[in-house]
């Protein structure tokens, strides 16, 4: 049998619950009934209840089947996942809502993640499956979410706060635009294995991969030389060439970035910005990272105005004040020195003490 190719994913129309098929494109409004419970009302008057459940994203097939069990019991055999990897149970009959919630509570599955809560942490592979991580992904996420758990199922926060994690500078996910980003970073230059470089790597591509021009050819060796003063350990050369690993047990760790945003609401999309250049890798629970994230969430929650996101709050009070209020020491790495650095300098005499 010739292999069938390019047939594409299943048609989503075959996956939609009847209430959605019926009211597709004709939703009128929604209400946030309580944390984790949304109610969408259609022009037709139909009501759809969505119960959002937190997920570790890394699921066993048995766990997926358990999700199916629940969906079959309460949702006519339909279920969806969100763009942040939560599970959504779609209930077309109001009477099923409370029993479903009771069932979920029994299973210990967290309900929440809607509105002004802390929803799931978008994250990546880490030590589970990737070759370039500077830290783990699932482990830190579990540790942080355990600590922020109360914020998942409640509405205690002034606004949206989206946390993301990426385990290396490749930043799989939208880490670079998150209210709080946890980012794995390396701090050591690549360890050159000339044998591998010679045999497996295309030297010009390796050289072109370096953002700071730290790599130059070493024609004698048919290999490369790294200018250690210029290397900032991004690992980009390793992506291109297995002979240049950057991972290191002491060098690797975590950095914290804040103030990014994706939605166009009010202030528009923005990048996350560095506030803590390095925290050590301390599995299994990364207490330094957990504490840093929690502190930032709570400092923001305490000082921001309603609907004001992390970056909006900080831009209002000024970054110099943020460092003070958050009690985060200012580190030299925070001052930009890459391509657009001058845009980040304080080009005014107006600032706060």
């Amino acid at each position: 049998m010739a292999t069938r190719t390019d047939f594409g994913p299943p048609d989503y129309e075959t996956m939609l619950p009847p209430i959605i098929k019926k009211n597709y494109g004709m939703w009128k409004y929604h209400e946030r009934v309580k944390p984790g419970l949304l109610k969408h009302v259609a022009e037709s008057g139909d009501e759809l209840y969505t119960i959002r459940v937190g997920s570790a994203r890394l699921l066993s097939t048995d766990h997926v089947r358990e999700i199916c069990d629940v969906a079959e019991k309460f949702c006519g055999g339909y279920v969806r996942f969100t763009s942040r990897h939560n599970i959504e149970f779609l209930v077309s009959e109001k009477k099923n809502v409370d029993p479903l919630i009771a069932d979920l509570n029994k299973r210990g599955w967290p309900i929440g993640g809607t509105g002004h809560s802390i929803t799931n942490i978008v994250h990546t592979q880490g030590w589970i499956h990737c070759h370039t991580p500077a830290t783990d992904a699932s482990g830190i996420v579990k540790a942080v979410m355990d600590e922020l758990y109360d914020y998942f199922g409640s509405w205690k926060l002034p606004g949206y706060c989206r946390i993301s994690l990426a385990c290396c500078l490749n930043m799989c996910g939208a880490v670079h635009c998150s209210d709080i980003a946890i980012l794995g970073i390396h701090r050591t230059v690549p360890k050159l294995n000339h044998e591998i470089i010679r045999t497996k790597c295309e030297i010009p591509n390796v050289i072109a991969a370096c953002p700071t021009g730290a790599i130059r050819p070493d024609p004698a060796n048919k290999s490369v030389i790294v200018n250690e003063d210029r290397c900032m350990y991004c690992g980009n050369c390793y992506t291109m060439c297995p002979g240049m690993p950057v991972a290191d047990p002491v060098g690797g760790g975590v950095s914290i970035w804040v103030g990014g945003k994706v939605s166009n609401t009010r202030s528009g999309p923005a990048f996350s910005r560095l506030v803590i250049p390095f925290l050590p890798n301390t599995p299994p629970r990364w207490p330094e990272t957990v504490a840093a994230v929690k502190n930032i969430v709570e400092v923001w929650a305490k000082h921001a105005r309603k609907h004001e996101r992390m970056g909006e709050w900080i831009e209002r009070i000024g970054w110099e004040r943020f460092f003070e209020i958050a009690g985060i020491p200012f580190a030299e790495q925070i001052i930009d020195d890459f391509t657009l650095a001058s845009e980040t300098y304080r080009t005014t005499a107006a600032f706060k003490w």
Binding site: R80, T82, G268
Partner: protein, 389 residues
């Protein structure tokens, strides 16, 4: 595997948030490779370092994409993950499933892989986490059988994604799921056979809330929008006034300050509105977008590698978004072509535009320069007279 063999990971079984360790252990009961993964991960927790080798190229017949090759660097210790390749399976639009479809995927994966998955990957695929080389093709064949194709990887178009849109959201300015299906089907070849300078991503959000973060991580970002006046239901406005402070929460936070509220009626100077969604978000019953709807097309966002992260920027302020979406597909084709011809190896679209100039891109894809494309004009006097003088 006895608990005592993974004391560090065991700690992550505690606590209220769902534990991936529990899932790994669940899979480990059935699967040697899941058991090995658990062991190797514990080793990483001890060593503070990953234990995977630099990926290699593996795949299925006819495709260059869809599989991420992976090999343990301590295979002697953990032979179960000596090869442990991931399959990226293209999800249905909107991440909607029947339990039947989900169970079928699980069955295939129990047959061929580790029994571990990601629902979903950061790009949106179903990630089937780890199998050996010899299982790749049979696994794909079985997936095909149940109607699931692979997603993108490598220097290919990546699996596009879209927000839930009209399926469950009153703010969808066009049918994001249908557009996603069209795009996915149209570009199957570009997704499965890497032949571009680098990866290229398309993400579709049906309104400016941008629930798939398309402006941050898609070379082509489609964001729903509208023209004309926001529809106001003043009765519902008055109802809102009972539970919220319309002045401080809505009017004062409007970025263009184009709203006013006198305690009785809400007025919007729509000409000055920039359609940020803030007021609509806060008063979903009272405010609805105008009736003329479509999308803004933006290009160029990406993560920091190589020249720093970029956000997408506006190139088409407004495009009608009705099937068969010819105008959009043509734009994508022209964009692919321009990038394919001019992009250097590992240069994303945004970087290419920065290198050669937005003007050249606009010309190549046949767009006129408009003030909506920029936040502000240039401050440097280094500009060209390409047409001569």
């Amino acid at each position: 595997m006895a608990n005592s063999e993974t004391p560090l990971l065991d700690d992550l079984e505690k606590g209220p948030w769902p534990s991936f360790v529990k899932d790994m252990k669940q899979a480990a009961v059935k699967k040697e490779s899941a058991r090995a993964l658990l062991g190797q991960l514990e080793q990483s927790f001890v060593d503070n370092i990953g234990h995977w080798k630099h990926g290699g190229i593996v795949g299925v017949k006819g495709y260059g994409a869809g599989v991420i090759g992976r090999y343990s660097d301590i295979p002697d210790k953990f032979p179960g993950v000596e090869h442990f390749h991931t399959m990226r399976v293209n999800m249905p639009a909107g991440w909607f499933y029947t339990t039947k479809a989900l169970r079928a995927v699980c069955d295939v994966w129990d047959k061929h892989g580790s029994g571990l998955t990601n629902f979903h990957g950061a790009t949106g695929d179903i990630i089937l986490l780890g199998t050996s080389t010899d299982h790749l093709q049979p696994c794909f064949d079985d997936l095909a059988e149940i109607g699931f194709d692979l997603g993108g990887s490598g220097s290919a178009m990546r699996t596009p994604s879209a927000c839930v849109g009209p399926a469950r959201c009153e703010w969808a300015c066009f049918d994001s799921l249908n557009l996603l299906r069209t795009v996915t089907r149209t570009f199957q070849g570009q997704m499965h056979r890497p032949m571009f300078p680098y990866k290229i991503k398309i993400k579709i959000s049906a309104c400016p809330n941008d629930c798939v973060a398309s402006i941050a991580r898609a070379d082509i970002s489609v964001i729903g929008t509208w023209r004309g006046n926001i529809q106001i239901d003043q009765t519902e406005v008055l109802a809102c006034a009972k539970t919220m402070n319309i002045q401080t929460e809505v009017v004062d936070l409007c970025p263009t300050k184009c709203m006013s509220w006198d305690g009785k009626a809400l007025t919007i100077d729509d000409k000055e509105c920039n359609r940020c969604m803030h007021c609509i978000n806060l008063m979903p019953k009272a405010l609805r977008q105008a009736k003329e709807r479509g999308a803004t097309i933006l290009v160029g966002s990406k993560a920091p590698i190589v020249h720093g992260a970029l956000l997408s920027s506006v190139v088409i302020p407004f495009m009608k978004m009705d099937p068969p979406y010819d105008e959009f597909i043509e734009f994508v084709n022209k964009t692919f072509e321009y990038w394919d011809e001019n992009g250097k190896m590992r240069e994303r679209l945004g970087e290419l535009i920065n290198r050669l100039g937005m003007g050249k891109f606009l010309k190549a894809v046949g767009l006129k320069p408009l003030p909506q494309m920029i936040k502000r004009p240039r401050a440097n006097p280094y500009y060209f007279w390409r047409e001569g003088i």
